[in-house]
Symmetry: C2
Amino acid sequence: MSDLELAASVADIRAAAERLRGRAVITPLLDYPLVSERLGFRLLIKAETLQLTGSFKFRGACNRLTAGVAADPNLRAVVAFSSGNHAQGVAAAAKLLGLKATIVMPSDAPAIKVANTKGYGAEVVLYQRHKEDREAIAREIAARDGGLIVPPYDDPFIIAGQGTAGLEIATQSKALGLAPDVVIAPCSGGGLVGGVALAVKSAFPAAAVYAAEPEGFDDLNRSLAAGERLANKPGTPSICDALMAEKPGTLTFPIHRKLLAGSRVVSDEAVLDAMSFAQRHLKLVVEPGGAAGLAAILAMRDELAGKTVAIVCSGGNADPEMIKRAADRGDPLA
Amino acid sequence: MSDLELAASVADIRAAAERLRGRAVITPLLDYPLVSERLGFRLLIKAETLQLTGSFKFRGACNRLTAGVAADPNLRAVVAFSSGNHAQGVAAAAKLLGLKATIVMPSDAPAIKVANTKGYGAEVVLYQRHKEDREAIAREIAARDGGLIVPPYDDPFIIAGQGTAGLEIATQSKALGLAPDVVIAPCSGGGLVGGVALAVKSAFPAAAVYAAEPEGFDDLNRSLAAGERLANKPGTPSICDALMAEKPGTLTFPIHRKLLAGSRVVSDEAVLDAMSFAQRHLKLVVEPGGAAGLAAILAMRDELAGKTVAIVCSGGNADPEMIKRAADRGDPLA
């Protein structure tokens, strides 16, 4: 498989892993033999909930900023727009590297994400999700402060950084003596699932890598069918605040087209059930968007029978209200 | 340090680790650098919530049963009494080894624990916690079925099995280039903290190992002060259903006296705050008893400044109602 025409390669992901060494957490690939027995397939959880800042986003942000400082030692400030997890990733990476961070966040972002972003020392600028253009606001701030804009997914360094999670899945699966048949990661702009697909397919060419998307934000599913990037209808609600990108990225979509087995679409109800499953059986707090992959496999049980399935639980920054809504669901395995 | 007079030795723990190989999960020692920065000390979490059956209890049970079958190949049945986590550990270990398990559980045990114990194929016999004698009921069943009684803590194989968690803490700390200054584990009958102390003090003689006990069940704290085993007042309520042993064990107490730096007593309120801390910052579901060590360190922040502190989060089998009570607490770090 040649990656020459794609925005990032496995070599880029390996370089990212070097930049992240000693900075990002090598998150565990959790093995749940008894839960797997009940599910009828071998479930492995890549717990990015345990990554610095509570989501995989630190990986891409740290890779982008480290490379940015290497390219321009005079770099002093960064600007990002994000519903919350990228915000925290950029804020924490900026703090680590001694850079000023300004983050443009929607006014309806979960309180825990806004609080944490400020907690990592970033300045937060709020905007109206459905009315204002966050990229324009970010460009204005970057022009004023002379800062580097750190996009959430459409950037080779971001894609390669997120891909380090896939590299770890490959290494950790091998250490368990397992080869994943199926790998699923949540998808918004697609940096994570794109990077993971690059790394996983390089180690396990036969693995089927899927994206998981929320209802109303199934742009990748429709785009893969159409063969071109299609947008979501604006103003659609979802509890998956982390997965509300408008459409696939220009850099990520070619990776998806080439490497993904497909994208599975999950409802808010299925996501809440997946969060309940995570609380009850995995003992993990997973946020709605982070649980999309889990929601997908709970609906795919029949087709997964007997297989080895690695799921990226991509984030754990759930507000207490959302944790309680999930706790109120019944047991999806009962 | 000679362990000759103690019920279990580091050699016993190493033998237990051999018996558990490929059966128990080697749970991760989780590193949270950004949370540690906020706490002012390096926090490492031994996540026994991720052990088979959701608590460390599988370790001791599997060690006891494996050794039992080795000693008597005709063994067919086991009997245990437990508020829930030992129940699940014994049930799952019995299933693995093809043994019939009967578990005597209090009628007020968390629903999730009763359901899971039955789910692992065990027969559950309920009793009234403050009125009936669970050990007598277990002895009757064992006499009837010819089964092996698996006590929850006062048994050399149980202590050695739980100690494998401590062996892993030592190995995993070294892999991170760290030497824990302080190690804390929740304590009921004291098998876990006893075994962990044996293993940890062998690798790091200077480490201070503490027990954490709930208010009203501070028998170890008082017994260490008195130099003899003192009982708790019967009928005391606590949300820490897993930590309600009557008094220190005859085999565990000598280990505690010799090796522990002390026992820290935590209130129900502090435990709920620790569960909230785990949800918000560690992204882990921890049950009340499992969070006692965390509750202790949140109260010890000043004396822990600058240190490396490993906490055993010993179980994650929290009922949804308890998860919600914790989610309703504020952020203990705010």
